[in-house]
Point group: D2
Chain length 480, copies 4
Amino acid sequence: MSTPDWINRSIAKLLPNAKKGDPLASSKARAASLPRSTGQRLEATLRRGQEALSPRVLRRTLVELQGIADPQVSEVEGGRRAMGVIQWYARTTPEQRRDAWLLMSEQFGPDAKKVSAAREQYDAAQGTGDEGSAEIRLRRAFVSPRTRLLKRFAVAPQGMRFLLELRSELLPQLKTDKRLVALDAELEGLFSTWFDLAFLELRRISWDSPASLIEKLMHYEAVHDIRSWADVKNRLDSDRRCYGFFHPNLPDEPLIFIEVAFTQAMADGITPLLDEGAASVDPASSSTAIFYSISNTQRGLRGVSFGDSLIKRVVETLHEEFPKLRHFATLSPIPGLRGWLGKNAAGLLDKLDDKERLELGQALGSTPPSTQSLLTALEAPLALPASSPVRQMLLRCAAHYLAQGWGNGKPLDAVARFHLGNGARVERLNWGADPSAKGLKQSWGLMVNYLYDLKRLDKHRALLAQGTIPVSGDIESLHF
Amino acid sequence: MSTPDWINRSIAKLLPNAKKGDPLASSKARAASLPRSTGQRLEATLRRGQEALSPRVLRRTLVELQGIADPQVSEVEGGRRAMGVIQWYARTTPEQRRDAWLLMSEQFGPDAKKVSAAREQYDAAQGTGDEGSAEIRLRRAFVSPRTRLLKRFAVAPQGMRFLLELRSELLPQLKTDKRLVALDAELEGLFSTWFDLAFLELRRISWDSPASLIEKLMHYEAVHDIRSWADVKNRLDSDRRCYGFFHPNLPDEPLIFIEVAFTQAMADGITPLLDEGAASVDPASSSTAIFYSISNTQRGLRGVSFGDSLIKRVVETLHEEFPKLRHFATLSPIPGLRGWLGKNAAGLLDKLDDKERLELGQALGSTPPSTQSLLTALEAPLALPASSPVRQMLLRCAAHYLAQGWGNGKPLDAVARFHLGNGARVERLNWGADPSAKGLKQSWGLMVNYLYDLKRLDKHRALLAQGTIPVSGDIESLHF
Amino acid sequence: MSTPDWINRSIAKLLPNAKKGDPLASSKARAASLPRSTGQRLEATLRRGQEALSPRVLRRTLVELQGIADPQVSEVEGGRRAMGVIQWYARTTPEQRRDAWLLMSEQFGPDAKKVSAAREQYDAAQGTGDEGSAEIRLRRAFVSPRTRLLKRFAVAPQGMRFLLELRSELLPQLKTDKRLVALDAELEGLFSTWFDLAFLELRRISWDSPASLIEKLMHYEAVHDIRSWADVKNRLDSDRRCYGFFHPNLPDEPLIFIEVAFTQAMADGITPLLDEGAASVDPASSSTAIFYSISNTQRGLRGVSFGDSLIKRVVETLHEEFPKLRHFATLSPIPGLRGWLGKNAAGLLDKLDDKERLELGQALGSTPPSTQSLLTALEAPLALPASSPVRQMLLRCAAHYLAQGWGNGKPLDAVARFHLGNGARVERLNWGADPSAKGLKQSWGLMVNYLYDLKRLDKHRALLAQGTIPVSGDIESLHF
Amino acid sequence: MSTPDWINRSIAKLLPNAKKGDPLASSKARAASLPRSTGQRLEATLRRGQEALSPRVLRRTLVELQGIADPQVSEVEGGRRAMGVIQWYARTTPEQRRDAWLLMSEQFGPDAKKVSAAREQYDAAQGTGDEGSAEIRLRRAFVSPRTRLLKRFAVAPQGMRFLLELRSELLPQLKTDKRLVALDAELEGLFSTWFDLAFLELRRISWDSPASLIEKLMHYEAVHDIRSWADVKNRLDSDRRCYGFFHPNLPDEPLIFIEVAFTQAMADGITPLLDEGAASVDPASSSTAIFYSISNTQRGLRGVSFGDSLIKRVVETLHEEFPKLRHFATLSPIPGLRGWLGKNAAGLLDKLDDKERLELGQALGSTPPSTQSLLTALEAPLALPASSPVRQMLLRCAAHYLAQGWGNGKPLDAVARFHLGNGARVERLNWGADPSAKGLKQSWGLMVNYLYDLKRLDKHRALLAQGTIPVSGDIESLHF
């Protein structure tokens, strides 16, 4: 099999006087051994005519990648070659990177013939007692050169970080370019084994941790922005706890981290927790641990989930260090509330009885109360008195959203989805709990506690699997 | 879908008065959700009637395993359940373990319906530009619950060691029981990612290493038995080097280790290297590093190879520490020589010319020389004078064995296979190099040097791929 | 021997109904064994009548201290008792602490009788060949219970820190209260052995060091204030170096630290070195290492000097890491310049020749030039053009100050004293090098480079010992 | 002041043609600054005419030592010079070393004039309120150049070990050569501060400790010889504990270590504790910790005691790890018993009443019983039946030795002295407890338990201080 003529021709044009010493020569030799299908695919790729890489560079890149994946070559040598590509890649434009992804995604698939043969054997084996071997053969046929390619990148120094960042850049383009799906899935598959829970180390992060690590927390914090070093010092102080999962190949930053405060009662607002001047608390005599922030750091690990395990390990660790702790709960944002209520307020208003509707209408100055008037009245939620029917309405709506909001077989709210999936239950709504701009924008300042009742996690999970969101009596009595 | 009646009936017999508090009750509930195919397979398994586990225990074990693999359950919980099974397993008999393996191998395969549907989509997708997604779907359909099951074992404390030992015990039975192939292949696949080179740390082992670690070297050493602590101290002294690959989940023992001595010329015998009383050597002024022993420690990692990478990393490390080193070679046994020569001596004797045949015949007291007379004369090889035609004959045979011995597309000798595969070449035969009982038994005391010429590793590897074993001029001139 | 009656009486008044279970009882028992002289001293102390501690507390404190120093008690027990005093001390007022110091200083001196007897033996031994033993006996007689007392404080957890802080608080009072001298000298003597160079570890401090440690740098930095975390990050970046000496008992903070920048020429101003936005530099290709800040952290270690050793070790370490470095120099403040010039300007103006005096007078608008007019003209030094005679005058004065300023057998300027004592020489003056308020106030913005010429350190030191300050040709040509 | 002429003359003879480049030249220059008294002392030393070093070498050595102690030289430079002397010293003979010690001991004493002046000031200060300063001045006058000399040796790499070994070699000669006393005392003084308890780290030694460290235990074990690696493994196993004190400058070996076994009752024999095949014990459910061996490793640290502190820290550590432990006791040899009984048997025989004397005489076949007949009968102590009067007699004698043996104000037996000094009491004698040759030789196989009753340590210590050895009722009833 040979490289398609048109490619060779175009290279010939670009390099009319290629000599013996031509650095491409050995690459050409290697390229000559491409299986037909690869050549054809490459041809198709090149014909698209939208490449950011010139045909010559594209082809050379392919040859380089093939050199890495070459099964004749040792892993150490493969890793060394990968290092070269990593250095080249660092200097490319986003468009050129996309071309490299396409090569990885399309040119390193499983061998169609092998797959076909293995399928026939598999079909034939059914019922013969040899199903096991046949299954193995078929699965092996699906092990693509792409797997070897990516593993060898992982061997290179900083190779794991390279792959994580590659996927992180690739993910946003996945929806619009289906050709990248194979590469993405291969990465997710490898990551889910490489970043297996068995390899993760739970480590406390404190004010004695490296400044460079703490700086990363400031960067990655996704729930309540860290405003300054004084802010992060407060969160890492001796009366707080912060834990992260670390992986041996990424020793300098956590994959995910969680921040914990200690209180005597379930926290009803974020302000005191973020107050750098607040008096110190004695964790050893506290009854309650509040998880007030949890952040993933590696976008490239999408689909590989640690949050559940992190919370469970942290609960165990805290329990051992502070035997007096009895309650474990979150203080969480409700990021989807405003968006959801905008679309669903009308339906909820309809559920009010006459008396309720009247009272609310009066408070809103709009009879009957309308979505528009409700939203207008909510523009300054912190100014609403405790007795305001508007306030009561929003609480009921929020309870409804959390207790009944269901879509695609899952809770609607992203944060709810996470904690409910872990076996927590919706415990309490807190008015004005997050008065920051972000908090007001997401949920008019409302926050919610999810309670981790260690003895009921499994029961709650089972309820959820049957389509029922577990909630406290308070929430139950609130929603429609 | 329900558990087959006959199973339920047999359980009913065993447990006629099962009460509410029955510890099996919840297991039963879980078992009730088995997919039909699993039940059917189990039924088939049980009907074989040769089980070491009673039907009840077998079934309960299955339920336990399903509880671990349950996707509804968190990884942490899965790991905790796995720990229970690990503890049970530790007390079982070999036959009972085999039953557990069969459950893992046969009951946790991919879902036939999903596979079938994915195949149809895959076929339909060819040529549509959606091949990538279809490939992914098909591969996902092949991801069996067994993968999740094994991953969750890995999460348990000591879980990785459990899996390694399980496979180590399982491997010898693989040939006679094909039903175990699926489990074995699944383990090999996971191990090849978990024990990826990217995760291995090259560490020096010295006399300052933990005594418990050094004791393990004594246990695992596979080439030249370690006779005493004085012996191992000599091998770890400041004028020696020993390196191992370590994995984060098995921090207490190397996966593989290699022993290095420093010399001024290529070593021609093992005795001075193992002599505890020999004078110390200065590595910094030595020209040659001799690899005189390399041992794998984990039988359970069969198929996952590190030796190649280890030698390359060690060569790099030594090169950096001792810039004057110029030669890297092994002093290796020839384990297959005696067995091979017994079968092939006659053919080789035929290759002698008349003069050679005459001389050898006289030396053997048998004209013409026969296989039997040759083997008899070799019974005390160390007594043969340097000029003996018998000695010359054996050297020629050994050279032939190493340079021409080829089978199944690979070098015949297991040690040769390893070093040649790494790109080394057969360099020199050494008479009387291993006068130990083992050395005499394997190869009449002969040892061989394989030379690692860093600039030619790739060239040698390519030669080998074409079927030619690279050898030195000396060896070339010796063989028939 | 008994406690003086008047003390017992005063205690009797305070505790009229002391019962058997009285917590003081055992203390009393211990107090009963005080040697007479101690009792007398205590009496004298108490009679001064200015104590912040009541007689009762004072006496109890003495008993506690004696309990710690008791030679009958084990070191572990002594350390445990010391811990109690440390906790009490933490809650005392400055005046009460002074009382505790006086007890330590005055009540734990050497035994006068023993000293006297040992002196007689020493005198008698001269010329007998037994001088060695006699010397030993005499020195032992001087080993006071105070030494044992302080050593046992050191054994308590945090005891070393306690002693360091105690001396740090005590030092300012030493001039006005001679009674504290004995305690201070005892502490200095112990510290000079405990903090022996043999125990100090040179460690790099970087952005990967604990945040809590870096926060301490910000606190202790004594030369160029650290303004923010961005500032300190710049000083610890990968193109900088910072080293400190650490002691095993104070693992969390350096005793002294030094900041180093890399340049292609001797730095002539501090601004680019503190510029957080400046482009990164490659140390490996730099010719010059600039020490631009060195700070002690433990005031309590006064008299125990590390700076000399630190600079030498850092020079060695840098030399090894960056073989291309050829010059090692400081960029240093001249803290004493302004104070000195105010007093000495008149004398220097007299040294000008007529022409110089005329030019300077014209520039100052004052003929002849006066001290006052000179200082007035220097009020905005950065505005002076390069050719201004005023500028030239200041440079000459500064050169004179550094090259000729001599007092008490040492260079006048404190920073000069340190670097010249290490063997450096005065190399170059830099106009406007420190435009900060502090720099302008100390030395009208002037800074000086001291050059560490490794081959001449000893020669320079010898020159200095003979009273000559080593300077460069530039400086030589500048001064009067 | 100049070097005495006769020394210069003898050097002139040895080096008639000394040239400009003479490596001694700079040494000579340094020597020229020797204070008179030093020269005179050296002259005296040399006149003794018994030196192992030639006058030239002796003088050069002195100059080298003075170069190290030179206060004009930095500590780093002093340390570097010391390194040179350490290397020279390593190659010298014992006699030459003695000469070097004499130089250190005799040539670096305090300055007689300074001492004299300080004494006058001290005398004058008495009663003036300035006693503190005067005390300080006098003590400073006694700080000899020897202190600086030794401190700078400590700064050199391996310098601390050099000093320890120097003193270890010097100690045996101290009795016969009083001139070495000053050096010895200076070393002891420095060691007692350098090896302060505050610097020692208690570390567990286990089978996971470095083999090189464990090998040192085998070397240093002083009570029950370690026979093999299997023996030491048994003592470090998971059901045992071994702890040592480590110093930051000697990280590779403990200064002292102790071995602990766990039992259900106070151990009555050493054999089961040293039995490698004995079944494993669960420390967590044991009631008793038995200290069965404690060994110092550094002879050079004589006079600096850690044993007391080690046992207390170990008791605390064990208590924390195993809260069920209630008894802490030793199983100890009685090394001085046989020697003592040989001299004191007659007196003890006299204390027997008639009946006892008769019975014993019959058993010994000697009426009345004589020392000689008693010792003869004890030649095979293990053969004596439990009821033998001889056995009873030995037990009574041993009890008497331990409970009444008193000399120089201390218990006679060296091991008893140590444990009683720590506050333990003599608890129980154990017949045949150490059947080894050493055990039979020391004490006819008898061993003793000392009990550490944590609540009574102080009380026991006080008893001892009053001259009473605390013993159990059993021992009380045994002795005469």
